[in-house]
């Protein structure tokens, strides 16, 4: 067993864990954050995607020990003051989820994608989410949701630009 210290959804934690404990199991079983799901054994599906220091990672392929000293954000930590994060809101508005199993991971991947590329094309969104599988939506509305979140984020900036112009 070993001691790890890390921050999960803004809360500093210190836990004794098995060296082989996967981050996704740590988040689910030790921290009780069960939004991230396990959908495969091969890092293929992305249902377990979380943010590690702001970047999306598949938490089934990260050892808890590797996350020591870092910041982890799961879907539970995305909404602020009870308000859905704009990406979460867009997923709802565009019906970008059905059974919900891939959703927490998909949302985290989308958040990360938009941080890296705030104004993506449809093809860029599709490529950016290639590592996150969804069996229900056919991806159609997921893509729309990410594009909608991108334009919603761009709108205030556009309005600002018009005012200052």
């Amino acid at each position: 067993m070993m001691q790890v210290e890390l921050t999960v959804n803004g809360v500093q934690r210190s836990d004794e864990v098995e060296p082989r404990l996967l981050l996704v199991h740590y988040l689910r079983e030790v921290c009780g954050f069960r939004a991230a799901n396990i959908g495969c054994d091969t890092t293929s599906c992305g249902a377990c995607t979380v943010l590690l220091n702001g970047e999306s990672v598949k938490s089934c392929t990260v050892l808890t020990a590797q996350a020591a000293g870092q910041q982890v954000i799961t879907a539970e930590g995305l909404a602020e003051n009870g308000d859905l994060h704009p990406v979460q809101q867009a997923f709802r508005s565009e019906h970008g989820l059905q059974c919900g199993f891939c959703t927490p991971g998909m949302v985290m991947a989308a958040v990360s994608l938009l941080q890296e590329n705030p104004n993506p094309t449809e093809d860029e969104v599709r490529e950016g989410l290639e590592g996150n599988l969804c069996r229900c939506t056919g991806y159609h509305n997921i893509i729309r949701a990410v594009l909608a979140a991108a334009s919603a984020a761009a709108e205030p900036a556009t309005a600002q630009a018009e005012v200052t112009a």
Binding site: D41, F101, P104, R126, L129, G138
Partner: protein
């Protein structure tokens, strides 16, 4: 304004988006405190005799509580094939393999541990001796009966649906053109993102509570009762959130039964979640039919006769997949008016994963065979495939139409759907673009595929006409509860059922709680599958709501000292008012104060409904590499009146993606020894966002009279229409090179080979012809 028909956002979503759903693995019920963990030792070989099992090392491993084999579970009954009388009764299964294993993935032993990581380690330590027997993978090998999967059965044939002797010798007499072809509707994996799971706990009252992801708690309970030899009252099945099912989560599998059995044996709650590897080898697969089609007609495009011969690979043990050819036969002639049509099928056992239902379940296969036949016929006579279809579609009908296979189509306007889809696709423009590329000899060619379909949804069974129950209750605080016998796993019933009741009761949808999947609360229900939920479960909610208003009206009359006939229900205020005296009113919620206000109602439909439509696909093919790229999918899916376009479109999108995936990518592959080569998501090419375009949906609503909502099922339209449309588009892209057919999935290798074969055939036939001729 009516809420029905509007794009209401799902009430389910905030929870899924923030805390995530509570799937079976997430359930933290106190009854499950201290649960042990169940793991399965699965056969690594396709067909073998078990000559010995040594548990010693596993039992000595850290955390191992028990190891069980077939001898330990001998008290559990045999699993008989479905449909007694129809299927070979000797093809029974034991919960754990006893004398033989018959597919890679079949459970051989159970290992129970304190902690899941220990279980992963310990299953490696169970030493099973296998005497390898020849695998049966190829369908002809299976039919030859030279190796038998079940020696006592004397054959590998599970069931025959009609026989070759019944086929008419003269069926194609008089036809100017006849084409015959054999092709596979390949085996695919349902692959819901949530794999199978179970949690089980026994109470001090000897009652079993189990949490299982399923498509109908009641049917799952019935299986648990049967296989654990319990009384119905002893089992409670709870359905947590379900992460997709697609037909593969109906009822209880041996693993579910064994988890409950372990919990009883060890007097301790038990849980199990399968890995994706297990899911891809041990959850039922879908499709797996070989089709031989023969189609004949006149050279000006009238189809006179059609024959479909099906070989269904049922996998090692006959489950629902073995009986699905009956649905394929029922829908064999599709939306066409074919004067002479016949279809037969044989289901045969192979040493592979059992075949079950997968989105469409028997109907996509019928449509794929028929649409391929129409394309081959069109190519044979040199006519546009869309035109051949138009000539042969059944004319619009509003009274039920009986087909020669016994299907009773409720309403349809197939030509309108075809025309609408072609218009939405800009069919003439795509053909013009195709002509340009063909003329210029472009490396990247474009093809267009058209598929017309009609399907059956919400069918009943031998027990009677299709029906479903609902309970609607209004509470004094103005909220309301709906209990439904359907079982959503992504479809959005919480939103849809609330919309229907809201329309009747005037209660905002946010104030509804919709509950399902608890057999103590809802003992009867048909679950969700076969695209039945809205047309029966939704109709039951509407009926119960209307009956609740009738009950409330009597109470309101007493409260207002008025005649019930003088009362008007004002949905806007959710209150009864006396006609001509709006001041004299009573709120619906107030009528629930002194006595509970609820109605339980059963809606029975006169029969199944038959949604229909046309899918058009446009694909590009790189003629040098064979790589196909799906460019567009345009669909018209007429499932009657649309309750919530957002939800209906979501169902269409998902189905289109799975249908296109079958045509393009997905296939469960075995080697000749029965080893699965696609047992992970690294190997099984489950479709991702990069392989699909956005979809173009056109709407069309032809109501049915079979329920007051006017609705038919929409859940499976996508897989039914999209698969043949996409396959056809790929073939069409290289048709000018002489290609008539490409097997599914149309991989780059297959397309490239088809192009090469057509080129060499063309050069042999016309040695002087140039490449571009």
């Amino acid at each position: 304004m009516s809420i029905l028909g509007t794009r209401v956002l799902r009430t389910e979503d905030p929870r899924f988006l923030t805390t995530g759903g509570v799937y079976t693995e997430d359930v933290t019920d106190e009854q499950l405190a201290g649960a042990c963990h169940v793991f399965f030792v699965r056969s690594p070989v396709a067909h073998a005799r078990i000559s010995g099992i040594d548990k010693t090392a596993a039992l000595a491993a850290p955390g191992v509580l028990a190891v069980y084999t077939a001898d330990d579970v001998i008290e559990l009954p045999l699993i008989d094939p479905l449909a007694p009388g129809l299927m070979n009764a000797k093809m029974t299964r034991t919960m754990l393999a006893s004398d033989k294993v018959r597919f890679v993935g079949e459970p051989v032993a159970v290992v129970v541990t304190e902690d899941p990581y220990q279980g992963e380690d310990a299953i490696e330590l169970v030493d099973v001796d296998y005497e390898i027997l020849p695998a049966i993978v190829d369908l002809d090998d299976a039919l030859a009966d030279s190796v038998l999967l079940f020696e006592d059965a004397g054959t590998n044939v599970v069931a025959n649906f009609g026989d070759t002797a019944s086929l008419k010798q003269d069926l194609f007499d008089g036809c100017e053109a006849v084409v015959t072809h054999t092709f596979m509707n390949q085996r695919v994996a349902p692959a819901p993102m949530e794999s199978r799971a179970a949690a089980a706990a026994w109470g001090e009252d000897d009652r079993l509570t189990c949490w299982i992801p399923n498509q109908g708690a009641q049917g799952t309970r019935d299986d648990m009762v049967k296989y654990l030899k319990l009384d119905e009252g002893q089992v409670r099945v709870i359905t947590p959130d379900v992460g997709g099912a697609f037909g593969a989560k109906f009822g209880a599998d041996p693993e579910h039964v064994l988890v409950a059995w372990v919990a009883k044996k060890l007097r301790r709650p038990a849980r199990w979640t399968e890995t994706r590897f297990e899911n891809l080898v041990a959850m039922t697969h879908g499709r797996a039919q070989r089709h031989t089609i023969t189609i004949g007609g006149s050279k000006d495009g009238d189809v006179h006769a059609y024959r479909l011969e099906v070989i269904q690979d049922s996998g090692a043990y006959a489950r629902i997949g073995a009986i699905l050819p009956t649905l394929t036969i029922l829908m064999a002639s599709g939306p066409y008016d074919i004067p002479k049509a016949e279809a037969i099928a044989t289901a045969v056992a192979t040493s592979t994963t059992p075949i079950g239902a997968y989105r469409g379940a028997g109907r996509p296969e019928a449509t794929a065979a028929l649409e391929r036949a129409f394309d081959l016929f069109a190519a044979e006579i040199g006519m546009d495939p869309a035109e051949v279809r138009r000539r042969n579609l059944l004319k619009k009908f509003t009274e039920p139409h009986q087909t020669s296979f016994g299907a009773l189509y409720d309403s349809g306007d197939y030509a309108a759907a075809l025309d609408k889809a072609l218009e939405a696709a800009g069919y003439a423009d795509v053909r013009a673009e195709q002509a340009r590329r063909r003329a210029s000899g472009d490396v990247t060619q474009v093809g267009v595929g058209v598929a017309c379909y009609v399907e059956i949804t919400g069918g009943g069974d031998e027990s009677g006409p299709p029906s479903e129950n609902a309970t609607v209750e209004v509470h004094p605080d103005g909220s309301a509860t709906i209990l439904t016998g359907t079982s959503p796993h992504g479809q959005g019933h919480s939103t849809a059922w609330a919309m229907i009741a809201s329309e009747e009761l005037g209660i905002p949808i946010e104030n509804f709680t919709v509950r399902w999947g608890d057999t103590d609360l809802i003992p009867v229900g048909g679950g969700t599958g076969g695209s039945r939920s809205l047309q029966q479960g939704g109709a039951a909610v509407q009926q119960a709501s209307r009956e609740l208003i009738d009950v409330a009206r009597e109470r309101a009359a007493a409260a207002l000292e008025a005649s019930a006939g003088d009362l008007r229900f004002d949905q806007g205020r959710s209150a009864f008012a006396v006609a001509g005296d709006p001041e004299a009113s009573v709120a619906l919620a107030d009528l629930a104060r002194d006595e509970r206000l609820f109605v339980h109602s059963i809606f029975a439909a006169p029969g199944a409904t038959f949604p229909f439509g046309t899918h058009v696909a446009v694909a590009e093919v790189d003629t040098e590499t064979g790589k196909a790229t799906l460019q567009r999918v345009i669909t018209v899916d007429d499932a009657g009146i649309v309750l919530n376009p957002l939800l209906a479109e979501g169902q269409r999108h998902g189905g289109i993606a799975q249908g296109a995936a079958q045509a393009l990518l997905e296939e469960v592959v075995y080697d000749s020894e029965g080893n699965p080569l696609t047992a992970s998501f690294a190997d099984y090419p489950i479709v991702s966002a990069t392989e699909l375009p956005s979809f173009e949906l056109a709407s069309m609503e032809t109501p049915t009279t079979y329920n007051p909502l006017g609705v038919k099922g929409i859940g499976e339209a996508g897989t039914i229409g999209a698969t043949p449309a996409v396959q056809s588009a790929i073939v069409d892209a290289v048709a000018h090179l002489g290609v008539r057919h490409v097997e599914m999935p149309a991989t780059a290798m297959r397309i490239w080979r088809a192009v090469q074969a057509a080129k060499s055939a063309g050069s042999e036939a016309q040695p002087t012809a140039t490449e571009s001729a």
